[in-house]
């Protein structure tokens, strides 16, 4: 073989030999650039639903109002019963903020970076081994992570902030007959000891309002656009799959119109409120009522999740603590 090549290369060049070399090289190029198999679809591995932790807290829901964000975050968790209830020593914690949009914090499209940093710090102080922060973004991820301010703030607080890897999406083992089929779910969001869901309160064209339940879409992969068909059912199934241990709704700035992406500062309203609960449905219902002054039963995905028995939509029957700092 080598001799042949040597001969081919060292001979005197005729038109024929040139064409030969040319044809060989062309076919080599063609062969090497054959489209590699698209492997971004979910793999064959399946992932089981997250078991979640049974946590009994002092109150069903705590809401705090004030201006000092780190202090509010601390108070919030302390009133629920302290961080020790959620994070044990050596735990791997996932903090899932909403940083899906390429917008700076004052536009209220992404979770407040100071709040994320404060919660990360609380978790690390409680002895968490690692705090992972990630989100499957709608805009370009590098820009979202940077401009939302979350990457910088959380990294400074000691979190492990990273872009989501295509190979860590595994198709979820959703129950039989599920509308989710076998949608890919991010493995790190499932294989963790504590999942802290940190949405921002804003409006949404399809879902009307978006809080904790809708925020869980950020751990799903695949073609997420199709999730918008029958969104109520799908969101309920994702909620049952992930079972977040703690939901902290950022109502410091809320987006009252043109959500979820926003862009007008006039649509942003400062409410200076954080809401925390282990029950995503209750937290969402409370935020609907107190941040947007709407009836939770009108928001179909919250209502649907409550009907499925995933949480309590009835605020009046819940034990609620309100604090002002």
């Amino acid at each position: 073989m080598i001799k042949k090549i040597t001969k081919l290369l060292s001979q005197n060049y005729t038109r024929k030999s040139f064409l030969k070399i040319f044809a060989a090289a062309l076919s080599a190029v063609l062969f090497s650039t054959l489209k590699t198999k698209k492997i971004f679809a979910a793999g064959t591995k399946k992932i089981n639903p997250r078991p979640g932790r049974k946590i009994s807290t002092n109150y069903d829901l705590v809401s705090v109002q004030g201006d000092n964000i780190p202090l509010m975050a601390k108070k919030l968790i302390d009133e629920l019963g302290g961080i020790q209830k959620f994070v044990k020593k050596g735990d791997i914690v996932v903090v899932k903020p909403n940083m899906g949009w390429n917008r700076t914090p004052e536009y209220a499209a992404n979770t407040n970076p100071e709040l994320v940093a404060a919660v990360v710090k609380i978790c690390l102080d409680a002895g968490a081994k690692r705090v992972n922060v990630f989100d499957n973004t709608c805009n370009e991820e590098k820009m979202c992570y940077k401009n939302s301010g979350v990457e910088q703030a959380a990294k400074k607080a000691g979190a492990n902030v990273y872009f989501m890897d295509s190979f860590r999406y595994l198709s979820g083992n959703f129950p039989e007959g599920s509308s989710m089929d076998d949608y890919p779910v991010y493995a790190d969001a499932v294989n963790c000891d504590c999942f802290i869901n940190m949405p921002i309160a804003k409006t949404h064209g399809l879902a009307k309002l978006t809080f904790s339940i809708k925020n869980l879409m950020g751990v799903c992969g695949g073609n997420r656009s199709t999730m918008h068909w029958n969104i109520d059912k799908k969101l309920a199934e994702v909620l049952a799959f992930i079972k977040p241990d703690l939901n902290i709704i950022d109502g410091y700035r809320i987006l009252t119109a043109n959500g979820p992406r926003g862009g007008n500062l006039s649509d942003v309203k400062k409410m200076s409120t954080f809401i925390a609960s282990t029950d995503a449905v209750l937290a969402d219902a409370y935020a609907t009522k107190h941040l947007f002054d709407m009836n939770p039963k009108d928001i179909s995905h919250i209502n649907f999740a409550a009907e499925k028995g995933l949480g309590n939509i009835n605020i009046n029957s819940a034990k609620i603590k309100k604090i002002k700092i």
Partner: protein, 493 residues
């Protein structure tokens, strides 16, 4: 150390530097380590951009440099030349290159003249032959994307199998430094690569075939290098061994040991050869031209003139025939008017490479004969990020103007049209509204209206045409598709 060795080390170093600069042309943009300046070096880019101020300043630097040192750019810096030298270096083990001084061809001067004249008449073809852009396109569209995708796939396979801490460590370093976190796909990448590789085949015959007979940039520099200060001084050699003649890859040394300065790329290999009377490069007085007037044989003959003008006229009219009057693709925001854009664009591919969503794609003949490799926004692969102005910042000739962020947000590049026979709410009465959710315009260019389909009252999208900027994110994210057609379509304006 031999000059040859120094040259090879320098060439490799510069080549790696250029590749790195090309590779890291991405968000966030570096202020100084930016290949834009490299494209602006070329005097041809200056001609293409109608002598734009920053381009003319930088390319004037190269011309002055060439006037002092000769064609050092060709011999030591040009990445295309480096590749050719590398290939011939390896081929040397198999075959011996022997030069016996055929007369240098003057055709390259005619080619350059035709290119520049056509360029001024509005038909830009410089990009076809400009070596830096030829290399850059192949690098961006083929080599970069192929390498990135292969590495991504490799790590996908490795990491799916829980490989342990070492591979994970390597991956976490590589991730978004050496590999992007996604596949990068460019249209027509194979054609681009073939166009780049074709001239390299002629290295089998002559080491610097391209540089000798075609390269318009080299020709441009040759016109200056004729008067360069740095000239080969052969001393008093008259032995007639013609060792240097057969060494010279550019045919710059004639059989009688006289010298053609405009052909010389200062590679210095004639100094290295074992020769009794070593030839030298020394500074000598500029206008003392040696007797090489007839380096190319006769001057412009009637035949030459008729032939090349005929070629130019044919090209010009073929452009007219195949021209597309209207803009029929979505151009990047800040693009000049269609005709001017195609003239000024040197097809370096910077905008296409830097696009954060992989939305910009090179076109082939979609926009006419004169639009090859110009960028278009393709909603199948990406969209235009609302707050991003990178493509304007990396354009060396300002065919895409530098826009401020606030101006860019108002720049319309297209207009969305809902395809009611595909759009799910309009067709099936199923609520969807993905487009409305993603619409980046602050007050939403996609608005909702209540309609009744099949007895269900649902919300369906409609377009507020005055607000729509045509960023294509709605088409890109639209989940409804029928034969690759989405439920919403952006039309260029």
């Amino acid at each position: 150390m031999k000059i040859k060795t120094i040259k090879r080390i320098t060439q490799s170093f510069i080549f790696v530097l250029i590749c790195l600069a090309f590779w890291y042309l991405r968000y966030p943009l570096s202020d100084w380590f930016n290949p834009v300046y490299f494209f602006q070096l070329s005097p041809l880019a200056a001609a293409a951009s109608f002598f734009l101020k920053p381009v003319i300043l930088i390319s004037a630097g190269l011309i002055i440099f060439t006037f002092i040192f000769g064609r050092v750019f060709c011999g030591w810096i040009c990445p295309y030349g480096t590749i050719m030298d590398a290939i011939s270096f390896f081929l040397k083990f198999f075959r011996k290159y022997k030069e016996n001084y055929p007369k240098p061809l003057k055709s390259k001067y005619f080619l350059l003249a035709v290119l520049i004249i056509l360029s001024f008449f509005g038909f830009q073809l410089i990009y076809l032959f400009e070596p830096v852009t030829v290399f850059a396109r192949a690098f961006y569209f083929t080599l970069y994307s192929l390498k990135n995708n292969l590495l991504t796939d490799l790590f996908y396979k490795l990491m799916s199998a829980d490989p342990g801490a070492v591979v994970e460590g390597i991956y976490s370093v590589f991730k978004s430094s050496i590999i992007e976190n996604r596949h990068v796909v460019f249209n027509n990448s194979l054609i681009t690569f073939i166009f780049f590789a074709l001239p390299l085949f002629f290295v089998f015959f002559k080491r610097r075939f391209w540089c000798r007979y075609i390269c318009p940039l080299g020709t441009c520099l040759a016109a200056v290098a004729k008067f360069s200060l740095l000239k080969r001084n052969s001393g008093i050699c008259s032995s007639g061994c013609s060792g240097c003649v057969s060494q010279c890859r550019m045919n710059a040394i004639k059989k009688d040991n006289s010298y053609v300065p405009q052909e010389c790329i200062v590679c210095g290999e004639c100094i290295d050869i074992p020769c009794g009377k070593k030839s030298k490069f020394t500074f000598s007085f500029p206008f003392k031209i040696q007797s090489e007037k007839n380096a190319y044989g006769a001057g412009v003959t009637r035949k030459d003139f008729i032939l090349w003008s005929a070629a130019a006229v044919t090209l010009f009219f073929s452009k007219k025939i195949f021209a597309k009057e209207q803009r029929n693709v979505i151009r990047p925001p800040g693009s000049l008017e269609e005709d001017l854009f195609k003239q000024k664009c040197i097809r370096c591919g910077n905008c296409i490479k830097v696009c954060v969503t992989n939305g910009l794609q090179p076109v082939l003949f979609e926009t006419g004969l004169d639009g090859v490799w110009t960028p278009k926004l393709d909603a199948n692969t990406g969209y235009c990020e609302y707050e991003c102005v990178l493509c304007g910042e990396v354009c060396p000739t300002q065919a895409i103007e530098k826009l401020s962020e606030s101006l860019k947000k108002e720049t319309k590049i297209g207009i969305a049209k809902i395809q009611k026979d595909i759009c799910v709410p309009w067709r099936d009465g199923l609520e969807c509204l993905v487009c409305e959710e993603h619409c980046p315009v602050a007050s939403k260019a996609i608005k909702l209206q209540k309609i009744t389909v099949n007895g269900n009252e649902i919300q369906a999208p409609y377009i507020e045409e005055e607000l729509c900027v045509g960023c294509s994110i709605c088409e890109n994210k639209c989940p409804a598709s029928n034969n690759n057609k989405k439920g919403i379509l952006i039309e260029p304006i």
